[in-house]
């Protein structure tokens, strides 16, 4: 994909390259190039920041490639009166997409299910006994959907929770891989996701070496599964380190 367009004039012409990419069989070859030219096991560049929203107890913004997500955490605050007494805290998660997040306006994927999966991924890492009778709200907004949305939302939510000072066992980082033909590609973009034959998403607490959530779709043989998990866990660890560095940076900046 080295952009050898020497024969074509600089004016716009329907590029055969793009047409080719629209076809799934390209992905089944052994050596194709990813749409953004990355290696199969190379993640997109990430930009992390905490304190994106002033009024929230904690917030974070993550940009991984074209996927842009903002998460605010409110609370812990008193649970609604209708709620029953609970001696552990409650977690309330809500994920929404902007209408302009996807190529077709308002083409929202199932927000309710994504919210439920975010909840499941987070609840294992939060020490809920530290805020009884109260609720923590986690609101996520996907500004731009560029693939691997859920993993980015999960990582961003964990960063926001840490920024809000909610007690966590460990930072959660989440990474997904797609299986295309014989290859396993990490951190897929939307295009790759729509052609994937199988997908695997890991949410892990890297320094505890624990997996809090795991979802696998498609057919996987054992060696392939092992490889995918290894690749994913390594990437989770790296992302976790980057998140930790981001938190340290914002903490030292606020002290000054």
């Amino acid at each position: 994909m080295a952009g050898k367009d020497n024969a074509t004039p600089s004016t716009y012409s329907p590029s055969p390259k793009i047409l080719k990419k629209k076809r799934a069989p390209v992905f089944t070859d052994v050596d194709w190039v990813r749409p953004d030219g990355r290696g199969f096991h190379q993640c997109r560049p990430a930009y992390l920041r905490t304190g994106a929203v002033n009024s929230a107890s904690g917030s974070a913004y993550i940009e991984i490639g074209n996927t842009k997500v903002i998460v605010s955490v409110f609370g812990p605050r008193e649970s609604k009166k209708a709620m029953m007494y609970s001696d552990i805290g409650r977690l309330n998660c809500n994920v929404s997409y902007t209408t302009f997040a996807t190529p077709t306006r308002g083409q929202v994927s199932d927000c309710k299910e994504i919210s439920a999966r975010l909840h499941k991924a987070l609840e294992g890492a939060i020490i809920l006994d530290t805020f009884p009778k109260t609720t923590v709200d986690v609101f996520a907004l996907v500004l731009e959907s560029g693939g691997s949305d859920l993993p980015v939302v999960i990582s961003c939510a964990s960063l926001a929770l840490a920024d809000a000072g909610i007690m966590l066992y460990d930072l959660i980082s989440s990474v997904s891989v797609s299986c295309l033909g014989k290859n396993i590609v990490i951190d897929p973009v939307s295009e790759e996701e729509s052609y994937q034959e199988g997908g695997l998403m890991i949410t892990s607490m890297a320094s505890r070496n624990e997996i809090t959530q795991l979802a696998i779709t498609g057919e996987w043989s054992t060696p392939k599964l092992n490889e995918a998990m290894e690749v994913c866990l390594a990437a989770c660890f790296k992302l976790g380190e980057a998140m930790r560095a981001c938190l340290k940076e914002s903490a030292s900046a606020s002290q000054e």
Partner: protein, 286 residues
Amino acid sequence: MVGLSIGEKHFIEGGIAQNLRTDGRKRLVYRPIQIETGVIPQANGSARVRMGGTEVIASVKAELGRPSSLQPDKGKVFINVDCSPTAAPIFEGRGGEELSSELSGALQICLLGGKSGAGAGIDLSSLSIVGGKICWDLYIDGLVVSADGNLLDALGAAIKAALSNTAIPKVNVAAGASSDEQPEVDISDEEFLQFDTSAVPVIITLTKVGREYIVDATPEEESHMDSAISISVNRQRNLCGLTKRGSAGLDPSVILDMVSVGKHVSEELMNKLDSEIAAAEAREEE
């Protein structure tokens, strides 16, 4: 869900550690499974599965629809699960809704495979009638009649049985229609196509209690779990889907171990289900 005293909890956990559960089963043994097919005359296929006190009904309805632009030569399948408050009072209102969406999400992951449909237990290309124009839409509905633990495995079995019971009417496409028109179709009343269900995977939920894993957990055992994984395995013993339940984290090596144990159990379950389904079909024909 189920309120247990500390003594009861110890009793259950101790039993599991010694490979003897409260109802006399070993760790990796299912409760007796009963299958009945063709229970809903209105549907194209249906089945009722009983697993101990758990009872679920699955129905398959086929309707003509348009294929999605991403996969023009494939049909579509929708899975929906309903937990009626008649099964348990906690299913009323939001409690049922949450469980329903969790179950249908898990079934979706376990049976429908990746977004492109590859690796799906259900062969979607056989649902296509005219590429890019008309296909069958399968609506799979699960109903929880009575909840007594291990709903997901029971639903998986019921869907497998209902699909093998499904008869899809044969469609004759009127010839001569131009390529950009919607072709006319004629649905036959007499000829039906049987659905190939040999690739439909079985779902096994392994619940981790202490250091051991159990299958087919009762509600008492489920309330005790810290985490469980549900895997779907096809006849080739390949993993087709996996979801994790429960909030506690698991070590990666433990997950891989659970997957291999699950694959081992799957073979037995697959054979048992096949023979039960065949027996149910034979009974229905009598």
